[in-house]
């Protein structure tokens, strides 16, 4: 549930980038930060281990200005994708309002995507949230690798294996080059704010 401060007319929206390890969640936030920092004027915090993997979470807060008289603040988080950090993932999901599931389009990662999606469902359920009702967007990442001859799952195959039941918006993307990174962000933020309309209007 978003944090709404009626007195200060302020809304905090929490969006979490979820998905398998090495799928490109941090790269999404890094791209957003490096590309739009001059407009969103913020700082990004990332805490990493030696191998450059996310240890706790990445955090990128920014304001989008006043909407319906409310000051809307967006907080983007990533979770560590490695299986062993489930307690952290569960904690980061506390109070989540919207989820971007960053799937890895490489053929060899098909099963890891499914495991991570199931893990998301379980961890949301632990916070009494339903994967079928929470605002969510799929991002099928690493599409740039096709040019290097690395076998990738097709958009249809990814839709079938991950989005057949959820039927949420989805994007083919490359977090490394920025393709559809902003579109993914815009979609999840607008879906999430729309879901909060009762509090705002």
């Amino acid at each position: 549930m978003a944090f709404v401060n009626l007195k200060k007319k302020e809304v905090q929206v929490k969006v979490v980038y979820y998905g398998p390890g090495r799928g490109g969640k941090t790269t999404n936030l890094e791209y957003i930060y490096s590309k739009f920092n001059h407009r969103i004027k913020t700082e990004m915090v990332a805490i990493k281990t030696h191998g450059d993997r996310t240890l706790f979470f990445d955090f990128l807060p920014f304001d989008i200005g006043k909407i319906k008289g409310y000051d809307v603040k967006i907080q983007l988080y990533t979770v560590p994708g490695q299986v062993k950090y489930n307690a952290t993932r569960q904690l980061v999901l506390r109070g989540v309002d919207g989820v971007v599931f960053v799937a890895d389009a490489m053929v060899v990662r098909k099963d890891k995507n499914i495991v991570a999606l199931k893990n998301l469902q379980d961890n949301l359920a632990a916070h009494k949230k339903n994967i079928f009702t929470i605002p969510m967007v799929f991002q099928y990442n690493k599409m740039d690798l096709a040019a290097q001859g690395i076998p990738l799952l097709s958009y249809d195959a990814l839709e079938r294996s991950l989005n057949a039941q959820l039927k949420v918006p989805s994007f083919e993307a490359s977090a490394l080059t920025g393709k559809n990174v902003a579109q993914t962000l815009k979609k999840i933020v607008s879906l999430t704010i729309a879901s909060l309309q009762k509090e705002l209007v």
């Binding site: 090495r22 890094e30 791209y31 957003i32 930060y33 490096s34 590309k35 739009f36 920092n37 407009r39 969103i40 700082e43 990004m44 915090v45 990332a46 805490i47 990493k48 281990t49 030696h50 191998g51 450059d52 993997r53 240890l55 706790f56 979470f57 955090f59 807060p61 989008i64 200005g65 909407i67 319906k68 489930n86 307690a87 952290t88 904690l91 980061v92 490489m106 690493k142 690798l145 040019a147 290097q148 001859g149 690395i150 490359s174 490394l176 080059t177 920025g178 393709k179 990174v181 902003a182 579109q183 962000l185 815009k186 933020v189 607008s190 704010i193 729309a194 309309q197 705002l200 209007v201």
Partner: protein, 214 residues
């Protein structure tokens, strides 16, 4: 009425987001244009370097070293290009041996040496002096990395463990670090504290389970 309110809200949000995140030049084409290696002997090596960027596996690193060895005869006549390959090989071997435990600078250096190798190898018009300069910059970085590795191995375990974490960093600001606001910092500290607590709780219960199973 409710629907019209909803539409207004959605419209307002979308306009605001378009203003903030207008991204016309973020396409794949923009980045990859002019870098086709269709018929180049480097095509395979570039694919491996890109895959290493996503995940370091034994297989990828073995392929990397093999590919560097395979390329050596092709550049035997050009000592400058050969020198790039001579830098890439030990980097590959170090990363293969240490994988996730290797210094992050090693992966950055591998990427940088490869990118410059590709640049120099494909820029026929570039003056030799400029190519030499690029190579020398990589050699200097390579030597610095060697020293870092030696220093890292020289440390005793407790200090080494303390250094296992890179300090929090601000990305994209180059060498400049921009301070977070007090509120953001306080918020982050409380979040990190809770995360650590949760990880310890999980670890504790795992240990209890293991002890109970004995």
């Amino acid at each position: 009425m409710a629907l019209s309110r909803h539409d207004n809200l959605a419209e307002e949000v979308e306009t605001r987001l378009d203003e903030l995140f207008d991204d016309n030049d973020g396409s794949l084409e923009g980045v990859e244009a002019g870098r086709s290696l269709e018929d180049s002997p480097l095509r395979e090596l570039r694919a491996i370097v890109l895959s290493i960027d996503w995940e370091i596996t034994d297989e990828a690193m073995t392929r990397f070293i093999d590919q560097v060895d395979r390329l050596r005869p092709s550049y035997q006549e050009d000592r400058l290009l050969l020198a790039f390959l001579q830098l890439l090989r030990p980097l590959g071997k170090y990363i293969k041996a240490n994988k996730g435990r290797c210094l992050p600078e090693a992966i950055q250096l591998l990427n940088s040496v490869y990118t410059n190798f590709e640049k120099v190898a494909s820029a026929d018009a570039m003056p030799r002096e400029q190519k030499k300069k690029i190579l020398m910059a990589e050699v200097v970085r390579f030597k610095e990395l060697k020293e870092q590795i030696a220093a890292h191995h020289g440390r005793k375990t407790p200090q080494g463990a303390a250094n296992a974490l890179s300090p929090p960093r601000t990305i994209g600001a180059g060498a400049q670090t921009v301070a977070l606001s007090r509120a953001d910092l306080a918020f982050l500290v409380s979040e990190v504290t809770q995360v650590i607590r949760a990880e310890f709780d999980a670890l504790r219960s795992e240990l209890n389970t293991l002890c109970g199973a004995r």
